[in-house]
């Protein structure tokens, strides 16, 4: 796929992109990163390592320079992180004297402020009202965590804050699952709101905020890793199913029961470690059409498998579909090679 082709034939090029497994996998990666901030850093590492391995191989085989571009991007990311980090450290140091905790409430001017903190399951958002340098009201705007924590722990903490009129560290109870994280997130949300009421409160610069939220996201934890593991398996299976949906004539291979009744009927039964013709159907489902073509020479085309298969799959049927798909793919590759040469 080249930029000139995208310009000439946008629809065709996009359809081709949809049909390319690498593009689809990258799309799943980006989708996960967009919807799941705490996974961004891990996914970035995965993307960089994968591209690094692939492009190093391309460099060694064909002398492709892509790996150097990747190295440049990596260097930029590192430099960007360094710049952002310097700003974060400086700002945090400057904030030490301007924090709204305890007596720091005296710096907060009267008004109503909104702030956010990270809870157990997601962001907690609160609106805090300050009058005469005292917290007089706290309203929960967004709360994704356990109701039992909100009704028992957060309610008590909120009452304590309103009685004292200032922000104090919460006690960390262990009664409910995720309660410490929720309470910390709630306190951070109140702190974030109060900070907005402090004149000249040091802020991170725009670059640092954008860089850290888009590239690093929020800190990954065990929950992130577990969720990513499950998502990984789900995406791969979805991808695996999609392959035969996108390739004309191979859609029925999705339905293969792996029952091997076709193997019993086939006079060939097994070649090169592949059960015939069930193996052909499964390879078609994977999109490995070249391998299907290689093995197709063993098929005698008797069609007994079709008579046995409970859903009507057959070796000759998938071979013919795989042949069409492989030929189309090769034509495409030849066309691209010609364009590159030109």
């Amino acid at each position: 796929m080249t930029w000139s082709r995208l310009y000439r034939d946008p629809k065709g090029t996009l359809w081709e992109a949809v049909n390319t497994r690498g593009v689809r996998l990258t799309f799943y990666l980006l989708l996960t990163a967009a919807m799941f901030p705490s996974s961004r850093f891990i996914l970035l590492c995965v993307l960089l390592v994968t591209l690094g391995v692939m492009w190093t191989r391309d460099f060694r085989r064909y002398g492709s320079p892509k790996v150097f571009y990747l190295a440049a991007v990596l260097a930029l990311l590192v430099v960007g992180y360094g710049v952002a980090r310097v700003n974060v450290v400086e700002t945090d140091e400057a904030r030490l004297t301007k924090r709204p905790w305890g007596d720091g409430i005296s710096q907060v001017t009267d008004g109503t402020y909104v702030g956010r903190g990270q809870g157990f399951r997601g962001p907690i958002e609160v609106r805090v009202e300050v009058k005469n340098h005292r917290i007089v009201g706290i309203e929960m705007l967004k709360y994704p965590d356990l109701i039992s924590v909100r009704d028992n722990e957060v309610a008590v903490y909120k009452k304590e804050l309103l009685e004292k009129g200032r922000l104090e560290r919460p006690e960390q109870p262990g009664m409910y699952r995720g309660a410490p994280e929720t309470l910390t997130g709630y306190a951070n949300a109140v702190e974030s709101a109060l900070s907005k009421g402090i004149p000249d409160f040091p802020r991170y610069n725009v670059f640092s905020e954008v860089y850290l939220s888009s590239v690093i996201g929020t800190a990954p934890g065990r929950v992130t890793l577990n969720a990513l593991a499950i998502l990984f398996a789900a995406f791969i299976v979805f991808e695996y199913t999609l392959q035969s949906m996108l390739t004309p004539g191979t859609g029925r291979s999705i339905n293969c029961y792996n029952c091997a009744s076709c193997v019993g009927a086939c006079p060939v039964k097994e070649v090169e470690g592949v059960q015939m013709p069930m193996g052909l159907v499964l390879l078609t489902r994977l999109g490995d059409y070249e391998r299907v073509m290689e093995l197709s020479k063993y098929c005698v085309g008797c069609g007994r498998c079709a008579a046995k298969c409970p859903i009507g799959n057959s070796g000759p049927l998938v071979i013919s579909a795989a042949f069409q798909a492989a030929r189309k793919r090769k034509q495409q590759e030849r066309l691209e090679a010609r364009e590159d040469t030109a």
Binding site: R222, L225, N226, A229, I230, F232, A233, A234, I236, V237, E239, Y240, T241, I254, N255, C256, Y257, N258, C259, A260, S261, C262, V263, G264, A265, P267, E270, Q275, L282, L283, R285, L286, D288, R304, A307, K308, P310, I311, G312
Partner: protein, 566 residues
């Protein structure tokens, strides 16, 4: 509105039966999704007419709320790990280890026994994984496979028993097994149920059931269908067995096997603290990618879509039935069965437990996902027919019967892999598999759960040793009686297929009665009327099961396969 439940239940069961009898030639999952849509459309129409638009808008929540993601994702990741094992040559390594075992003092017979029970030992989330890897190896033991160690009859028994064991091993699997659906429901009373309350009863009954299948295949199936297996024996002129082919396994295969076992043990015993099984399995699979240098495509090759889609489709159908009152209707029907004097609760349960053997679909998960919630409602949650321990007993019997139902299914069930390998007609193994599920596995699982498993989960029980002896006694009685049925029944077979079928039917009825009686005893102990009701229920279930076993098989394929042109 009650009528709506009956309509949707009829739609669901009607479509399932039409598929089973071959009137609908579409994958079961598609039929299930179609049934879901149909039920929802009918349900929406009724709700709109009776309660207005807002009631219709509540339907998506009610219908999707039934989907339990855990077993689906655990199954996915389990298949993923198995795919890695296959791609890296792990099964080749296993074959090499089995070869060493054959040369050890336990010899060929001991090795074959271990091989047959390997599926339940490894307990993968779908029996097809191991069956696909090892059935070709079993085939090599015969004359056509090259080794010529076993005769045709022995090979049929070996392949049939192995496939039986495999197509039930998804029950006790801790990584997305069918039993986990039941364990989830039992968890509402037994705090540690999800750690495997159903695992041991299933594994125990599966092992004994496998042995009965082997006997049935040898003494009954081969006499009933003598010309329906195209395997050939060594010709008389053959002097000695063929030279044994050397199996080489790559180093990566051994490494993958180690990673596989380590992942499985970590997932089961959780030595590094609580974490989802899925995470452990994916980490294992990724480790295989790195250590054994396999490609993502190779990993994906091991994924068998059928159980995953079957489970998802089963949950969808269950959700649609729940949202439209189908389960309530089923509850009312079963309640009316309870009111029948000769059935009662025990008789109704004896039929319910055998439901999936009566209606075997390509994957047990389809109906299990739909029917386990119904079974749960028999307990204290709604109808109150059973208390919690009794519910656990019925659940154990139901789940083992359900998990083994993919074996005899003619809709692309796992048993067809065995039939394919032994070059048999579709339906050859059905009698053996359904007999074992009905007569051996369900009552044994119930007895095991009653006398041992519940005690293990209740540490204060002082009668531990006595209970083990009781289980041994029951197992012995059940096994001896059924072996006697098989051995003496098979002697009565002649050349008349109708007479043979009738003899088999009588055998099924006797075994069904015994099974129902034992199930009733496990539930209600020495309550004579309950035991009689259980026997009546068992008889009805056995009759339905036996009538589904084919009288003769199609000889069309056998004729072409064994013809001179091959």
């Amino acid at each position: 509105m009650e009528i709506l439940g009956y309509i949707t239940l009829t739609i669901f069961l009607g479509l399932m039966l039409l598929t089973l009898f071959g009137y609908i030639r579409t994958p079961v999952q598609t039929v299930l999704v179609f049934s879901t849509l149909l039920c929802l459309i009918v349900g929406a129409g009724f709700r709109y007419a009776y309660s207005g638009w807002e009631a219709v808008m509540l339907m998506p929540n009610e219908f999707l709320g039934g989907i339990i993601l855990h077993p689906i994702t655990a199954l996915l990741t389990g298949l993923f790990l198995a795919g890695g094992l296959k791609a890296s040559g792990g099964f080749e390594a296993l074959k090499v280890l089995l070869q060493y075992l054959r040369r050890s003092p336990i010899g060929l017979v001991g090795t074959l026994v271990i091989l047959i029970n390997l599926p339940v030992i490894s307990s993968l989330p779908c029996g097809r994984i191991l069956a696909a890897a090892l059935l070709p190896l079993l085939f090599t033991f015969g004359f056509e496979g090259g080794l010529g160690i076993l005769t045709r009859t022995q090979l049929i028994v070996l392949i049939g028993a192995f496939t039986r064991n495999a197509m039930g091993s998804c029950g006790p699997s801790p990584i997305g097994g069918v039993g986990q659906i039941g364990e989830g429901f039992l968890g509402s009373f037994f705090a540690t149920a999800s750690e495997g309350i159903l695992r041991a009863p299933q594994a125990f009954s599966l092992m004994l059931g496998t042995a009965i299948v082997a006997l049935f295949l040898k003494f009954v199936s081969q006499r009933l269908y003598p010309d329906d297996v195209a395997l050939r024996d060594a010709p008389l002129t053959a002097v000695s067995a063929g030279k044994e082919p050397e199996i080489d396994a790559p180093l990566e295969g051994y490494l993958a096997l180690v990673i596989f076992v380590a992942s499985l043990l970590t997932a089961i015993f959780q030595p590094f603290g609580k974490m989802p099984v899925q995470s452990v399995l994916v980490v294992g699979a990724l480790l295989m990618i790195v250590v054994c240098r396999i490609r993502l495509t190779d990993l994906m090759e091991g994924i068998i879509l059928l159980p995953v889609t079957a489970m998802a489709a089963g949950f969808l159908a269950a959700g649609a039935l729940a949202a439209t009152g189908g389960f309530d209707a089923l509850g009312v029907i079963l309640n009316s069965l309870v009111a029948v004097p000769f059935l009662g609760v025990a008789g109704m349960l004896a039929i319910f437990v055998q439901f999936q053997t009566i209606l075997p679909l390509s994957c047990a998960r389809i109906l299990t996902a739909a029917l386990v919630p119904v079974l749960y409602l028999f307990g204290p949650a709604k109808f109150g027919f059973l208390d919690w321990p009794q519910l656990a007993i019925v659940m154990a019997a139901y789940i083992i019967n359900a998990t083994t139902s993919c074996g005899p299914s003619p809709l692309g069930g796992g048993g067809m892999m065995g039939e394919g390998t032994m070059r048999a007609e579709t339906g050859f193994i059905k009698g053996a598999y359904t007999f074992a599920s009905m007569a051996i596995m369900a009552p044994l699982a119930a007895i095991y759960m009653k006398f041992l498993n519940l005690s293990v989960f209740d540490p204060s029980n002082e009668n531990f040793v006595r209970d083990i002896v009781t289980i041994a006694e029951f197992a012995l009685v059940i096994a001896v009686v059924n072996i006697a049925f098989i051995l003496y029944g098979s002697r009565l077979f002649g050349t008349d297929t109708s007479r043979n079928f009738l003899i088999q039917l009588v055998g099924f009825l006797l075994a069904g009665a015994l099974s129902g009686g034992i199930l009733a005893f496990a539930l209600f102990e020495q309550n004579t009327s309950a035991i009689l009701q259980g026997i009546a229920g068992g008889l009805i279930a056995a009759l339905l099961i036996a009538l589904m076993v084919p009288r003769t098989l199609s000889r069309r394929m056998t004729a072409t396969l064994s013809g001179p042109e091959i």
